[in-house]
Amino acid sequence: MKRALIIDDEPLARMVVLEYLQAFNDQIEVMQECNDGFEGLKAIHQYQPDLIFLDVQMPKINGFEMLELVENQPSVIFTTAFDEYAIKAFEAHAVDYLLKPFSKDRFNKAVEKYLAQSPSAKPAKQTEELLEAVSQSPAQHERIVVKTGTKVKIIPVSDVIYLQADDDYVSVFTQEGSYLKNKTMNFFEQTLDPRYFVRVHRSYMVAIQQITRIDPYEKDSHLAILKSGAKIPVSKTGYVKLKQVLGI
C-alpha cells in the first residue's frame, strides 16, 4: 500500500483527485488533504508519504518552495492550472504533471506511470533536477524560503545582506540573523537578480546595496565592508564583476 497526500488550496480541486483515486484504493491510501504548503510540510514529516499530488500556486509558499524544504523527497505528481515556467520544468523532470482540469483517463495514466516505476528509481534526484529547472520562475527571485527547526521562514530577498557557502549549505545572512539553506552557491547565483547580488568570491555573494566601502587587502584581493560591519573577501574575478555591476 502506497501512502499519498493531496496538497492544494482549493477544496474542490482536492475533491477531484480524491474521487479519481478511488479507482486505485487497493494500492494507494490518502493519508491527508492539505490546504497549503505549511500543512503539506507537516503532513510530509508526519506520514513520510510515497507520493504527493501537489498544486503549484498556493498561498504563502508555492509548491516548489515547499518541496525545497522537504528532506526525503517523495514522488510528485503536479496538478496545476497554468504556469509557463513550471510546465517547461515538468516536461523535463517530474514523474508527471496534470493540467487542470484533467480527465480521469489522463489521471489514471499518471498514477499508473508512478506505480510502474521501479522502487529503486530515485524520486529525490528527479525532484532536485526539477527544482533547479524552475529556479527561473519569478517567485524564487523575490524570496528565499528556509526552515528553522520546525518553522518555515520566508525571507524577502531585499532583507538579505550576504550569502556564505558552508559545506553543503549556504548561510543566508539578514539583519535578524543567519539561516541555513540546503542549496549551492551556484543555485543562488542563478536565481538572484544579478543587478543586486554579486558573487564576489567562490564562497560569498553580496547584496551590492549593503556595500559601503571596498578596501584593498592582500595581493590581488580586496575586502568589501558592509553596512552591518561585516567584512567580505573579494577575489580578483569577483572584483572585476563588482566593478562591472557598479559601473566603475
Binding site: E10, E19, I61, F82, K100, I154
Partner: protein, 343 residues
C-alpha cells in the same frame, strides 16, 4: 505656421520657382544698367546658381544638425562666409564668360550690394530651414510619443488581463469538473456564472463610461465564482447606495483592482478573508474604496503597490490627473481608493 505645414515636395517646388525668379530679377536689373541681355543673363544665372548652392548647403547642414541656443552665432558666421564665397565666385567666374571692361567695372562696384543681398537670402533660407526641420523633428517626436503611449497602454491592459485570466479560467473549469460528480446543479450554476462573466469581459469597450451598478454586477459574477472555488474562505461586502450606483466610471477600471485584492487577499492567505468594495459620491467625484487583507511577510507592496500602475496610468490618460488613485497599508489591510470625476 500654415506655410510650414505644407508638404516637402511643394516646398522644394516653391524654392525652385524662387531661384528662377531670382535669376530673372538679377538679369533684369543688370540689363537695366545698360548691358546687353547676354551679359545680364550670364550674370543672373551664375549668381543664382552660386546662391542656390549656398542655400542647398545651409539647408542640408541644418537638416542633420539643429543648432543649440548658444550656437546661433555659428550659424551667422556660416551665412556670412557663404555669402562671401558667392560674391567671390561672381567676381572670378563671370569675367571668364563675358569680357567687357565696362561690365568688369560695374561688377567690382556692385560686389558690396551682391554680398549683402546674398547674405540676406542665405540667412532667410537658414531661418526657413531651421523652422522647418525643428517642426519636423517636433512632429516626429510627438508621433513617436503617442505611439509609444498607445503601445504601452495596450501592453499594460493585455498584461493585466493576461495575468489572471488563464489561471482563473482553468481553475474554475476544474472546480466545475469537481462539482459535476456530486452537485450537478451547482456545476450548472457555475457554468452560467462563468459564461456571463466571460461574455461581459469580452463585450466591454474600455473607452466607455458605465454606471457603477453595472460594473458591480459584473464583479459580483467574478466574486461568486471565487466563492465557489475557495469554499467559505471568501466574504465580500459591497456597499453602494442608489445615488452612487448611478455614478459613471470607465468600464473595466475596477476589475483589476478587485482582481488584485483577490490575488493578495485570497490567493496568498490561508485564513478567512473579507474583501470590501464601498462606493460614495463626494462632491463632484465618485469615490470607490476597495479593501483586502494581505500578508506582509510574503507579499510586500512596492511603490504604488501590487501592480496597480495600469489603473493609475489609465486614470491619467483619461483625466490627465495623477492624484486619482491612492493606496494605503496598515494593520495588514491594503486599501485602494480611486476617485472618478463626474463630468
Amino acid at each position: 505656421m500654415a506655410l510650414l505645414s505644407i508638404s516637402s515636395s511643394r516646398l522644394y517646388g516653391i524654392l525652385v520657382a524662387c531661384g528662377l525668379a531670382w535669376t530673372g530679377l538679377v538679369a533684369y536689373i543688370v540689363h537695366d544698367f545698360g548691358f546687353i541681355w547676354y551679359i545680364a543673363l550670364t550674370d543672373g544665372i551664375v549668381s543664382s546658381i552660386l546662391l542656390a548652392a549656398a542655400c542647398w548647403l545651409i539647408n542640408n547642414n541644418l537638416r542633420y544638425y539643429q543648432p543649440g541656443k548658444g550656437s546661433y552665432i555659428n550659424l551667422l558666421m556660416w551665412c556670412l562666409s557663404l555669402a562671401g564665397i558667392c560674391t567671390a565666385g561672381c567676381r572670378w567666374i563671370i569675367p571668364y564668360l563675358s569680357i567687357s571692361t565696362v561690365y568688369m567695372h560695374f561688377l567690382s562696384q556692385s560686389l558690396t550690394i551682391r554680398f549683402f543681398t546674398d547674405f540676406l537670402a542665405i540667412g532667410w533660407m537658414a531661418m526657413i530651414s531651421m523652422l522647418w526641420y525643428s517642426q519636423q523633428d517636433h512632429k516626429q517626436t510627438e508621433k513617436r510619443k503617442s505611439e509609444a503611449e498607445k503601445l504601452a497602454r495596450d501592453a499594460e491592459l493585455y498584461n493585466l488581463r493576461q495575468q489572471l485570466q488563464p489561471h482563473f479560467l482553468f481553475n474554475s473549469l476544474n472546480s466545475i469538473n469537481a462539482l459535476i460528480g456530486f452537485k450537478p446543479d451547482e456545476a450548472r450554476k457555475m457554468i452560467h456564472q462563468l459564461s456571463d462573466f466571460l461574455r461581459g469581459t469580452l463585450k466591454k469597450d474600455d473607452q466607455l463610461l458605465v454606471p457603477l451598478n453595472d460594473e458591480l454586477q459584473h464583479l459580483n459574477l467574478y466574486l461568486d465564482i471565487e466563492k465557489v472555488r475557495f469554499g467559505h474562505r471568501l466574504d465580500t461586502e459591497i456597499s453602494c447606495d442608489k445615488h452612487c450606483g448611478e455614478g459613471l466610471l470607465p468600464s473595466m477600471l475596477l476589475q483589476p483592482i478587485v482582481e488584485n485584492a483577490i490575488k493578495f487577499g485570497l490567493y496568498d492567505t490561508t485564513e478567512k478573508v473579507t474583501v470590501s468594495i464601498r462606493g460614495e459620491i463626494e462632491g463632484n467625484n465618485l469615490v470607490i474604496m476597495v479593501q483586502n487583507p494581505y500578508d506582509p511577510q510574503t507579499s510586500r507592496p512596492k511603490g504604488t503597490g501590487f501592480g496597480l500602475r495600469g489603473v493609475q496610468r489609465r486614470l491619467y490618460l483619461l483625466f490627465a490627473r495623477n492624484d486619482l488613485m491612492e493606496t494605503h497599508q496598515n494593520d495588514n489591510i491594503f486599501t485602494t481608493i480611486i476617485k472618478i470625476p463626474q463630468l
